[in-house]
Amino acid sequence: MKQGIFTIQSNENIALNVYKMVLTGDTGAITAPGQFVDIMLEGYFLRRPISVCDCVDGKLTLIYKVVGKGTEAMAGLEAEQKLDLLTGLGNGYDLTACRNHALLIGGGVGVPPLYMMARELREMGKEVSVILGFNKAKEIFYQKEFEALGAHTYVATADGSVGTKGFVTDVMNSVDIPYDYFYCCGPEPMLKAVYNASKTGGQFSFEERMGCGFGACMGCSCKTKYGNKRICKDGPVLTKEEIIW
């Protein structure tokens, strides 16, 4: 973990209520996809946790959805403005768990962390399939970016406007993807559906309301088969076998 002042390079609307922010600063503490940063916003007491979407050469990309006052304030920020970030938070995904072919499953703003993971898996020479779930066409983002990495990219929309009509699990059930391990991020009902639909081992990223984001307050605890864990420090990524729903 590191605390650092980052400078916003850009902050743009890329889908319905979804923004992409690129920052520069000391990204040295960020070591794995699935980790997150915790952002201090003027006028708000608690920091906002946002997953690392990508991190290369000191450039940090975040993708976030406006859901409340904090993210609304973030959407109003402009290039050159500074932000106080805690970086390198959380365990992140373990990419070595996949042998040859990884299936990445993301829903809504669960999609961003899968991008850095897909890139790194491709760099490791692995086959990558990605299933992206959204509600409707206007919410879709990053489909092309995944394709550009050479990932087999499937989209599901709840209203059927693009790709498979339905949920990510409808793609899992209808397309025969020869994955040997999967990685998943999204809202909890999706995680649970994927848990049930999956045929191999895998990892899930969880969300919880956080006090500190770095393991000090016990605000974000959950029970696992291997004991109590803090989503912020021992997670947010948990393995399939340890999860208690």
Partner: protein, 306 residues
């Protein structure tokens, strides 16, 4: 600045400075030790420890407020035996001062057991007994809301300990001074205050309480005026030292608390949003002391009275 003397003393426990991260906001220390040398602190109070291990309350346990937060962690901790066998040895590697042991319980027996075990630990310099928990043998009212109950816990704990015992009071009462006085009469070496204010938030989207447990403990800079008032009242009521806390977020707040009567000052929620906060306060103290013409910090304790 060269001459700024920040030393204070809590019932024989000498501190280089009065800044003490508060229980529940500093874990068992080592998350912060990753970031800085925590020996710069006066000391710190470790996470509220109970006899048995506890998972605590269901999540969500955290809600945001203006200039503060609500927590309903519910005393998650590994239990006193694991604290002694695992947490304290880990702490010894990064902290060479005496730590404050924060103890919670749901019955007098439990308080006694846990305090006795921690009293035997060399690393512990002072025991802070949190009496805000509901009394399971006494109808669920918190021990800290009635002077008689507060006195009973104090007496019981004092009978099994040799180290200084500070009783930590809840502000959710009509008359905090009378409770402090009861603790003093029962033998408390000092008073620690305040614990969190009872508060809540409702999620407008779900139209339900944010916190799974409905209510929780409200703390952070927003509560500072209430905490300062409580410290003032208790300082007036007792002759034992007071540790002041509640909303402290900068060196000026430390001085305000000490003027109100605090011998030392704990920093709580601010550690969670700025992990360097307590270190910054320690470093900032000499400058702020100079600004307000203070040479010996211990001289100003209770200085705003009369």
């Amino acid at each position: 600045m060269v001459n700024a003397n920040t030393k204070v003393c809590l019932s024989g426990l000498e501190l280089d400075n009065p800044v003490i991260p508060a229980s529940g906001t500093f874990g068992y220390g080592y998350e912060f030790a990753e970031l800085y040398d925590i020996n710069v602190l006066g000391t710190f109070s470790f996470k509220g420890t109970t006899r048995e291990p506890r998972f605590g309350n269901p999540t969500p346990r955290i809600a945001e407020c203006r200039e503060g937060m609500i927590n309903a962690v519910g005393l998650q901790n590994p239990g006193v035996e694991k604290v002694i066998s695992e947490e304290l040895p880990k702490l010894a590697k990064c902290f060479n001062k005496k730590v404050i042991a924060n103890v919670s319980g749901f019955s007098i027996d439990e308080y006694m057991y846990t305090c006795e075990r921690l009293d035997a630990q060399e690393q512990v310099g002072l025991i802070e007994v949190n009496i805000s928990c509901p009394n399971v043998h006494g109808g669920g009212m918190s021990f800290g809301t009635q002077p008689e109950m507060a006195a009973r816990v104090t007496k019981a704990v004092k009978s099994v300990t040799k180290k200084p015992v500070y009783i930590k009071l809840t502000p959710n009462v009509t008359d905090i001074a009378s409770i402090a006085k009861a603790c003093e009469e029962a033998g408390a070496d000092g008073i620690s205050l305040i614990n969190t204010l009872m508060g809540m938030r409702i999620d407008l989207n779900r139209k339900k309480p944010v916190i799974a447990n409905t209510m929780g403990g409200f703390s952070g800079p927003a509560i500072f005026p209430v905490a300062l008032r409580c410290v003032w009242q208790v300082y007036n009521a007792v002759n034992i030292p007071v540790i002041g806390m509640g909303g402290v977020s900068c060196a000026e707040d430390v001085i305000e608390m000490m003027l109100a009567g605090a011998t030392a000052v704990e920093t709580g929620a601010i550690n969670l949003v700025d992990p360097y906060a307590s270190k910054k306060i320690v470093e900032d103290l000499p400058r702020v002391m100079e600004k307000y013409h203070i040479t010996n910090l211990s001289d100003i304790i209770g200085g705003a009275h009369s």
